[in-house]
């Protein structure tokens, strides 16, 4: 199980081992990560699961899907070059050690 770490805007750090195939919004909510709400349950309707990462990880994560990309363009806060909606990322072995910034408010 890959280990994922979230750095919340209020300074809290949360790590969890996430079962392969679980989306990273659900994993964050399950781990109680501050700033990830996932109001729509991963339906690409709320953008309350926004995360960003460094460039090296961003490459490994791949680019956002078309609909995800459009949501990110119009997000309330700032979109960064590596922004993703975490409900659209599934845990897999290669993501072990991934660190995600959570820009949203707690």
């Amino acid at each position: 199980m890959p280990q994922i770490t979230w750095l919340s805007a209020d300074g809290t750090e949360t790590s969890a081992d996430v079962a392969t195939g679980t989306n990273l919004m659900e994993a964050a909510v399950a781990a109680g990560v501050r700033g990830i709400h996932g109001d729509c349950g991963g339906a690409l309707a709320c953008a309350t699961c926004h995360v960003a990462t460094d460039l090296a990880w961003a490459e490994r994560l791949g680019s956002p899907g078309i609909m995800e990309d459009e949501m990110l363009d119009m997000i309330d806060g700032e979109r960064t070059p590596t922004s993703r909606l975490s409900c659209q990322i599934l845990a897999r072995a290669e993501l072990d050690g991934l660190v995600l910034d959570v820009p949203g408010p707690a």
Binding site: A30, G32, C40, G41, A45, M67, E68, E70, M71, D73
Partner: protein, 405 residues
């Protein structure tokens, strides 16, 4: 004043209420009473992914169990009575519980089909809780004939999930057309065509007269006189606010517990939030059944409980997933007098913009998240784009946005 807060109803609104209460004052005693056995969970997937896949409660929980540390949790405990004079509640098991302040997050329930119409036959379902969804999912077997009564979002989502599982589906809408209460004829047309292409038979302006069967439902008689063999039935004819508890405590109710813009009832120690609350919006009293409304009102109620003066002035949003189509809605289009349809950037994308005069009221975006998000920002800023600009697909939508900040 800042004594013990009791929240009744462990759902979407309760969670955001707890979150906001705690961030204002981490030491305030909070009791959460819920009549279901589960921690608060998300309902939207119950009519979508949950009917197609295995249901896992862990993935539905709004917050993990550990999040409730410090909250006095009373799950599986229904409140039977509120005694306002004594400031206490009577639970179903007879136990009494004192409160200083109360937040009613009671939600709504499915409007049932009457017993005389066959509503109590086995195989007839409503869909509101995890238990309902699990029961229905167990009945979803390929080849079975499903009758869906009601062409709102819930009925259409169930129809889509059932087709994906290989059931045959007949859907009845008693009104003139599907989505009659909630969306434009143009939006309805899109969904009608899509369901027809997937093999769902939709009959509009056709009601259900009665269901019959020995013990289990076998036959449906429609208002046009036709009879149909059915294996199971889902009744999706709207929700009723759980307002009786408040009414018995002599709080005002009218299609829900009546509250002001700050989620307050006439009793200064009792507030209400979410599906159960009727509140003022744009000059009328409305009740919304949506995640957005429940979470935002839960938060407003919490902050006003601690002496705040926040008014709820929402930009409502909602979504619906059917097959691989995503509908995202922002605003309330009820009072529109015109619509503008805007083709999206991709073949299967479009958006429907609702206007009253020159004022933008709402946007339905079909596979078109960018129009949805722009509509959301425009409505939040109170800015109405010109209809002509919306209609001009060559003009980028982003040009209509007010500057950020």
């Amino acid at each position: 004043m800042d004594g013990r807060v009791v929240i009744i109803g462990a759902g979407q609104a309760a969670v955001s209420c707890i979150a906001a209460l705690r961030s204002a004052d981490a030491t305030r005693p909070i009791v959460l009473v819920g009549d279901e056995e589960h921690l608060p969970y998300r309902r939207p997937p119950l009519s979508k992914s949950c009917l197609a896949e295995e249901i896992s409660i862990e993935n539905l929980l709004i917050r993990p169990a550990s999040w409730y540390d410090g909250v006095d949790l009373r799950l599986g405990a229904g409140v039977e009575e509120i005694s306002r004079r004594e400031g206490r509640l009577v639970l179903r098991n007879g136990e009494q519980l004192a409160y200083d302040q109360l937040v009613l997050c009671l939600g709504s329930r499915a409007r049932p089909l009457g017993r005389e119409a066959g509503g109590d036959l086995a195989g007839v379902h409503t869909l509101r809780s995890l238990t309902d969804a699990a029961r229905l999912q167990a009945e979803f077997r390929p080849g079975r004939r499903l009758l869906v009564v009601g062409g709102g979002y819930l009925g259409l989502e169930v129809a889509a999930a059932a087709r994906s599982r290989g059931l045959s589906v007949l859907l009845l809408e008693a009104g003139a057309r599907i989505l009659g209460r909630v969306a434009s004829a143009t939006t309805a047309e899109h969904f009608r065509t899509m369901h027809a292409a997937r093999g769902v038979e939709i009959r509009e302006a056709t009601g259900l007269d009665a269901l019959s069967g020995a013990e289990r439902v076998q036959r449906a008689i429609l208002s046009d006189g036709s009879e149909h063999e059915v294996d199971l039935v889902v009744i999706g004819i709207g929700g009723l606010a759980n307002a009786e508890l408040a009414a018995h405590a002599s709080l005002e109710t009218a299609n829900g517990i009546v509250v002001d813009a700050g989620c307050r009832t006439a009793d200064p120690n009792i507030l209400a939030a979410g599906d159960c609350a009727s509140f003022p919006l744009g000059g009328r009293t409305v009740r919304l059944e949506s995640v957005q409304n429940a979470s935002d009102q839960g938060e407003i109620a919490a902050s006003n409980l601690s002496g705040g003066q926040r008014a709820y002035a929402p930009v409502p949003w909602f979504w619906s997933d059917q097959y691989d189509t995503k509908l995202q809605i922002v605003g309330i289009g009820h009072d529109h007098d015109s619509i503008v349809v805007r083709p999206g950037q991709r073949g299967d994308a479009k958006s429907i913009w609702y206007f009253r005069g020159e004022e933008l009221l709402a946007v339905d975006a079909i596979n078109d998240p960018s129009s949805y998000m722009i509509g959301r920002r425009l409505l939040a800023a109170g800015v109405s784009p010109a209809r002509r600009d919306v209609a001009n697909a060559d003009l980028p939508l982003s040009a209509m946005l007010p500057p950020r900040g």
